[in-house]
Chain length 337, copies 2
DNA sequence: TTTATATGCGCAAACGTTTGAGCAAAAAAA
DNA sequence: TTTTTTTGCTCAAACGTTTGCGCATATAAA
């Protein structure tokens, strides 16, 4: 069966395409199309198995019913959960979701954003990976509704919603300090992502507040490999730490594997606390204490902000930071000097 | 800056839109556009920051450069990995990816598929969730290039690539049997997904081959909750099992949590083997033996098949089953009677 | 009966591309 | 010089919608 168009229906019913279009768009009453005609049109549309051509409709109307989602990667559970929650909401709102993964590569991200401009998307939800994104700024300047999640740019007035990473970093570190630790290493992820930066700032502030000078900040990627490598390096270096603060659960896994290889016991030899919770953490040989982010809230707030912008509410600079929560388990020992 | 169109460039250069279009599409030589003109067009396009309108272009040409990906959910690591791998390849091929999550709900899936028809997508990669999908069949009949991953329909000649789940189920169960277990429970996921069905068939066959009559097959969802609940039920029932085979890593987590609550030791009291590998598994209090699926291969083969179809190669019914691999860890004890 | 209002629908342009066909001028061949 | 070929580009239609405006006809009011 060939693709049926509006004008096929029109021909069949000996009506104009205008009438068909109006009925099918729910604008029939507004344009005073008779009740009976409406019925006949709808029936014929069903009978012919009519499928609207979104490309034609978008070309004319400018509406694409499409939202783009740009995140580092969906194979990181943190982003996967958020992507899934967002996608579910968008589906309910009858939007299609375009998925863009940047793989933490700002060139890929920029390229994707550029290509998005061709698609007339109506909104963009993005966890940007670059230090500063010219492309994102361009999109923003062009009037596109954008909301940043997890990461954002302090110098751009793009609305964002993220965990209060500074507090998270501070809480985690303070907890370690309160438990008696003084030599605390921090294995970070992407140095240019604001969420990483804020976590590190929290770490530093907590140490400063406690009058601790020694700080060890290493790492550069939110992945297992980085956690493994940096832990190995840490153990082989001369610095002696009694606790490690990993800035993502992926990093934590790598760290744990390295610790195990070196036969270091958690928490007896080294304590561990990590950003990001995961259902696995409580099942590990040592259940890992973590800083849990309010995942669902992030997506929900993001959607709410986006909808606000789409409904032409005045473009305010909404910036939401949500409190994280420490989930206490057994990977941090109290250390008394 | 307003959106610039091809005709803006044309006006600026006093050329026809046809010429601009041809240059910008790389068809300049084919249509004998002068070298110098080509340069001037390209420069002006850059200068005006021209962005092609994909909707107009698709409307005319029928090409959408869009592939849809339909999976249960991206918050299941198995699908997340696959989605990510596929998306990366599609990006390289200059396709945009539309993400559709069905949440294992066939109505949602059907609705999404229906809406896809409006988008003129060029291909569809899907892990269908229903028992049989009318919508999918319609799309297939309409000539769309489709490849199924992980799940498929044996009665439709849609190409698919999946793990050989029968073998996987057989291997896992045989291993348990070889280790001396006779009472083996199987906690399954979605009963209607062929991957689940095949795994169960493998489980049954292995038991039959060993002359074991007792079979315990329970469960109905590929998630943690199901694993937890079914394990609880299993433990409270009168049947006594010495080993459990969970059909996904999510189920395994729930199972482990239940076992821990009931103070059952793995593998001393009960042995566990699970489908799906995960970087976490080796870090658990008891490293879990698993049946690892060839994730990357699945995506790669899927892409290859899809490309073949897109390039108008004869539509053959390619059906690929890839061998899984057992990763031996410590969750299965040998039991001697 | 004439005039005003309501009802039901159609005309035709527009959205920004792509594309088959074709035309004028320049270059080459005769 | 005339004819053929090549070069460089343009015309205009088409893709399937949406939409501002407008035109009959029917009904109600005067």
């Amino acid at each position: 069966m060939p693709v049926q168009t509006i004008s096929d229906i029109a021909k069949e019913l000996k009506l104009s395409v205008t009438t068909i279009s109006r009925v099918l768009n729910g604008k029939a009453d507004q344009y005073r199309i008779g009740k009976e005609t409406q019925l006949r049109v709808k029936e014929m549309a069903k009978k012919l198995n009519y499928i609207p051509n979104e490309y034609a409709s978008n070309l004319r109307s400018g509406k694409s019913n499409t939202i783009a989602l740009s995140i580092p990667t969906v194979s990181n559970m943190f982003f996967a959960k958020i992507a899934s929650d967002l996608n579910r909401e968008l589906r309910k709102l009858e939007f299609m979701t375009i998925l863009n993964e940047s793989d933490e590569d700002e060139h890929i991200e920029a390229e994707s954003l550029k290509r998005l401009r061709s698609r007339n998307i109506e909104g963009l939800i993005i966890a940007p990976c670059g230090k500063d994104s010219k492309e994102l700024k361009k999109l923003h300047d062009s009037g596109l509704s954008i909301v940043c999640i997890d990461r954002y740019f302090e110098n751009l007035d793009i609305p964002y919603v993220a965990t209060d990473n500074f507090i998270g970093g501070y809480m985690a570190t303070k907890y370690l300090i309160d438990m008696g630790h003084r030599n605390i290493a921090c294995i970070q992820g992407n140095k240019f992502s604001i969420s990483n930066i804020k976590r590190v700032e929290g770490y530093v502030k907590a140490l400063d507040d406690a009058g601790i000078k020694e700080k060890y900040i290493e790492g550069e990627m939110f992945d297992e490999r980085n956690g493994y490598l940096e832990t190995k390096l840490l153990l082989q270096s001369r610095v002696h730490v009694s606790a490690i603060f990993t800035l993502s659960s992926t990093i934590a896994i790598g760290c744990l594997k390295a610790l195990r290889e070196e036969a270091i016991k958690v928490p007896e030899d080294i304590s561990l606390i990590t950003f990001d919770d995961s259902p696995y953490l409580e099942l590990l040989s040592v259940p890992i204490t973590s800083v849990a982010q309010p995942l669902l809230e992030i997506s929900q707030v993001a959607i709410r902000i986006l909808l606000g912008m789409l409904n032409d509410e005045p473009r305010s600079t909404i910036q939401v930071l949500l409190k994280p929560k420490i989930i206490y388990r057994d990977s941090v020992s109290s250390k008394s000097y």
